[in-house]
Symmetry: D2
Subunit: 148 residues, 4 copies
């Protein structure tokens, strides 16, 4: 879902999704379980891929994205009820991988509650190896990120 | 989140929540996993309790709700991206339990994708036994359901 | 994983799996969340299909199983740490569907903590309709269940 | 659950748990979803805390652990059916935090499928601030790790 407003903390993010916290996202500590943040980042990552238009040049090259690593820094505890905004941004390319950053904003807390760094590899699922990210995919992202 | 519109199929439901399908809700069959529906019903159940005002008379009586049974009838497969509306309604009281019905509507399919019956017991977590649902709790629900 | 021992309560079940409760299966009430039981039943259902040999005659007929409905009766609260045994049994056939029953046993409580009824349909994913369960699939199940 | 054997890759880990992959851990790509690894690391982290004996000196000091950050490096795709072994090890202490490393071994692949770095903070849930990890807690860990 699209955010109704974009807080200053997410101003640099072209792709932002808005998700409600579900009661069942909480664990026995009574706050949102650490694992749930990664589900939210995944949703943000996929929304970014769709919105940016990178899926088409990747598929044309016979490639799909595969998550190589992801890290979350937990800054604030989140509790139900709340609504979170998650921004995604590609911050760099290497030969066969790209780096994606997320910021997760809590509407209830009115501040960033977590952030994330990740590395995503261009993967040839047929040959089962990583490949160079094709130039058209890089151009699509450059254009998308330049719009903000 | 509140629904933007209420389809005719949910017209009889006073409490309706709206949740986005997440990509990760899908399983290896490429559709939303059967387990996820129960997370959605749980979110609907909790929203109903909050919106109806039943929590206060239950807590006053030292009681909390506990799920005794729940059933889901799957009518349509759901795939990402989609947004679902889930309605909740209390359809009857017995001595120490109540029956709740859910209807789950897919915005993409524009139809009911699943429904659910459940039984919820008034539970004394201190004494670890079920208790009669107090009259004030029944009155609150009668008034809430009458509003539609 | 295979059970180390079979309690009397599961003596009638030919297919039993053994799963550890994970800490994160618990919710803010401090017990295993109601949704997790359905993940366990799913694992039991899939183990049954594999162990019974029904997958092959179904695939030969171009059919796959699809869950039409499932119900859980919660009898006991489960908390971490614990290990559960889940039995699955096919209790009847109709034209295009079968009924499966589960019993879920808690090793810590040394008793049944939940049970489940479900209906599974033989589905032609190509034609997107249900089909009669082929006779070889029925025979395989009859033979499998007769072994206990 | 305890592992039946300890592969050489986990020889340096005093705390190892063994968990079955569930079919429903897989996503629409047909492999175990990236989020599930963090649930496994959580289970390993909690088992380590229990097995090492660190919980008692922490509780005595009025402290509980809180996850500050965690990273996963995905090395191999995991598919059902499989069983994974997850080792946990504390690799260092700072004033109010400790670092924990995990290695995740796939029995099917007979190799490490993922590893993880994390930072855990000693948290005073009453005062809502982090505190120095008490010396008895450090001694307990030093003794536990020295046993391998």
């Amino acid at each position: 879902m699209k955010p109704h407003f974009v807080p200053a903390e997410l101003a640099e993010f072209r792709s932002i999704i808005r998700l409600p916290v579900q009661w069942g996202d909480q664990d026995a500590f009574g706050h949102v379980n650490n694992v749930v943040y990664f589900r939210w980042f995944e949703s943000s990552r996929i929304a970014y891929f769709e919105q940016s238009g990178i899926n088409k040049p990747m598929e044309t090259a016979g490639l799909g994205p595969i998550l190589a690593s992801i890290k979350c820094n937990y800054r604030q505890q989140i509790v139900y009820p709340d609504v979170v905004l998650i921004g995604a941004k590609i911050t760099g390319f290497r030969n066969s991988s790209l780096t994606m950053v997320h910021m997760l904003y809590s509407e209830r807390l009115a501040r960033i509650a977590a952030d994330s760094d990740s590395v995503i590899v261009a993967f040839d699922y047929q040959a089962n190896i990583s490949r160079r990210i094709p130039d058209p995919a890089r151009s699509v992202i450059d254009a998308f990120e330049a719009q903000r």
